[in-house]
Symmetry: C2
Subunit: 234 residues, 2 copies
């Protein structure tokens, strides 16, 4: 009998936790949408409570402070970004095709964000001179993503798709620049050609670093026949 | 006697006007410094009054509204930007040397603004989805500057320094991207190599568009021997 009652109370506790997690996710989702429009700094527990028709204390039960909420928003943004931009690009072949897929996905996401705003770009302006855990989380997320892009470039060098003397950090910087310009020119200057300009510029960068046929560092073997290490085997 | 008194009252009025203009300039200067740190949206008449140890009504006498003050700040920023970046570059020879000088000056200014913040970049994030006269002024200023950069590129094409098929708007977009990346990576990501990356990338862009010796559209004549029209004579 004690077994049955403990089982049922454990089920109730588990259902309660699941409901709690759902509410928490709904709060983060609402906060993320708000932050994209009004900025991370514009977020407040009161505003989120209002948008979800919850009490302030109800929101507080899940996030002890505004800062904790802001950090959760940055993490959720990062998770979605990773899903849309990074993981879907892994379907492309290793090397230059994957670098292209990463850039294409990044541009797609930026194009959507021309209307909604971008946490990484807006957040950088909000927090560039405000040290603290929100800035750290934001900066960590951006570094993680730029690092993933750089590794993809390193693989393209390994595969012989890009010249062996390609500086992957340099190429990564140049690609990042195009996304920043796309966002600025399309969203702020309302330049209708911004997307096309970013695409053309990307092709220019690829051409500059691309290995000439016959000048590859190594034979251009089929990528799926090789192991997926990001380290150069040179 | 009436002449003397009218002269003296006109002198007094003129001295009053001069004093008024000085005060107005001091207000704009303080507001510009504040805006670089906390953003245009953070500006308030009260904050400026406090920083200048003036009364709020004293500030109000010069700027009827916060919006008017924000617009004056954007104009003052533009004037200083033009002075530092544009006018000093006119000393460089027409063509590619002047494009280089414009980029160098722009980078120099951006490097200073790594500490203080940039009104054009920060303001874009603050006002990208807020239509109104402040956004219009900001967007107008940025368009004016990017237009001047594009004209300098057009002249470099005319001079035969850049390939005749160079798309000056495209090259301008790519250069603008580098400044945005320099600002983002140096100020937010604290990437110590950002300046060098931007310089290297600029050289890459120039190489891509540069006319090969002997492939110039026209003989590379001494620039100071030619009139300074920005229109192509082709």
């Amino acid at each position: 009998m004690s077994n049955v009652s403990s089982l049922s109370s454990s089920r109730a506790a588990s259902a309660g936790r699941a409901k709690g997690q759902q509410t928490k996710a709904a709060i983060v989702d609402a906060a993320l949408q708000l932050a994209a429009q009004i900025g991370l700094e514009g977020l407040s527990i009161g505003l989120i409570a209002e948008s979800l028709k919850m009490s302030k204390s109800g929101v507080f039960a899940h996030f002890g402070s505004r800062e904790e909420l802001q950090i959760s928003v940055v993490r959720e943004y990062h998770t979605r970004f990773e899903q849309e931009v990074f993981f879907t690009a892994l379907q492309a072949e290793r090397g230059l095709p994957r670098v292209r897929a990463l850039f294409d996905n990044w541009m797609k996401r930026s194009t959507i964000e021309i209307d909604s705003g971008c946490i990484y770009i807006g957040g950088a302006v909000e927090f560039d001179d405000r040290p603290g855990p929100v800035r750290d989380e934001l900066s960590h997320s951006v570094h993680t993503w730029l690092g993933a892009m750089q590794r993809a470039i390193d693989i393209a060098i390994e595969e012989g798709h890009l010249r062996p003397d390609t500086d992957s950090a340099q190429m990564g910087f140049e690609i990042h620049a195009l996304i920043l310009a796309l966002h600025y020119e399309a969203r702020f200057l309302r330049n209708p050609a911004a997307l096309q300009r970013a695409q053309l510029a990307f092709e220019g960068i690829v051409q500059r670093y691309q290995a000439l046929p016959g000048h590859s560092a190594r034979p251009n073997v089929r990528s799926d026949a090789r192991k997926t290490s990001t380290r150069s085997s040179a």
